[in-house]
């Protein structure tokens, strides 16, 4: 099995990209070779490479505010998706005239939207930011409410 060389590289517009190569690339300014331990250490930085920069010591630095913004945006998308699925179930509940289930689903959607009003500004550690989540996103409401609507 061949070795994999991993790099953080500065591209023309000044932003960073993460690349992997099966051959060792020449050393140039703005190209940082990652050791295995660097790669492990920088896993989250690489995930959010667009929020990173190289400092004067050629070390990778992450802008936690940008990461937070992206994380919250991701959660927003996930909540939108989950809400769309749940809204379909509201319609199904309405077909069966099950107002109670429709009300319960509406509460879940409201609760998820309320989560987005939370103040996340105290969370500055990237590892912690990555852990931010809305509890409802992990729960299988679809199964729960489908069972309720169809009595199964």
């Amino acid at each position: 099995m061949s070795d994999i060389y991993r790099y953080i590289e500065t591209i023309d517009d000044g932003s960073l990209i993460f690349t992997e190569s099966s051959i060792m690339l020449p050393k140039i300014k703005g190209r940082l070779l990652l050791s295995d331990s660097d790669f492990k250490k920088y896993t989250l930085h690489i995930k959010y490479i667009n929020c990173c920069s190289l400092n004067e010591n050629a070390e990778l630095e992450v802008d936690s505010v940008k990461v937070l913004s992206r994380r919250v945006q991701r959660i927003m998308y996930d909540i939108d998706d989950k809400s769309a699925e749940l809204r379909k179930l509201v319609q199904e509940a309405a077909i069966f005239d099950n107002k109670e289930v429709a009300r319960e689903i509406a509460l879940v959607i409201k609760s998820m939207n309320k989560f987005l009003d939370s103040d996340f500004s105290n969370i500055t550690d990237v590892n912690d930011i990555e852990q931010i989540t809305c509890p409802e996103l992990q729960l299988d409401y679809e199964k729960h409410f489908t069972n309720k609507i169809y009595g199964i």
């Binding site: 939370s118 996340f120 509890p135 729960h144």
Partner: protein
């Protein structure tokens, strides 16, 4: 590490960052208490795994317990946790009911590193044990009997891992795990 002085539960601040304090402790206790019985255990989804002990495994190789159902999590558990911990962003990652003789052997959960809290209600003798190295002895922390016990610790994806295990000798032990981040 153990603090029972002013609050109605026992806490173990294993990671040293403080144990998130629940509000509406009574509601939390009553809910977990309502799960800590033979009927809920018998109706729960069963988990019964066995094999050669590997403390470095992400999940316990040997595990015997039941799980609180999805319906109960959605209807009762999640809303109560949200109400009790408004200062946390969390996800529920453990919903165990251990019966007499049940347990879960040493593992790391190193595939999902984060701060974690387990909220436990036990009706008999049970304990949670941990250590940071296989060369060290396990540190036992015992559950309150007929009361709440909260433990907060950190799971890491590299050494030192937090090896941990649970043994329920008698009674029923409900244990709810959350991965959390403090909002304030």
């Amino acid at each position: 590490m153990k603090n029972t002085s002013q609050i109605k539960y026992t806490e173990y601040d294993i990671h040293g960052k403080g144990v998130p304090a629940p509000i509406h402790v009574d509601q939390l206790e009553n809910l977990l208490k309502s799960f800590a019985n033979k009927e809920t255990y018998d109706n729960g989804d069963k988990c019964n795994r066995s094999g050669d002990l590997d403390p470095y495994s992400y999940y316990a190789v040997n595990s015997k317990n039941a799980r609180i159902t999805n319906d109960d999590i959605i209807t009762h558990l999640a809303p109560t946790l949200k109400k009790c911990f408004p200062n946390l962003a969390f996800r529920i990652t453990g919903n165990f009911i251990y019966g007499p003789g049940d347990g879960i052997d040493e593992h790391t959960n190193a595939n999902d590193p984060s701060d974690v809290m387990y909220i436990t209600y036990a009706t008999g003798k049970s304990k949670f044990s941990y250590r940071y190295s296989q060369e060290e002895p396990l540190i036992d922390t015992y559950d309150d009997i007929n009361g709440l016990t909260l433990r907060a610790f950190t799971l890491t994806d590299s050494k030192p891992f937090t090896f941990h295990k649970v043994e329920c000798e008698t009674g029923y032990r409900v244990s709810i795990g959350i991965r959390y981040v403090k909002l304030f």
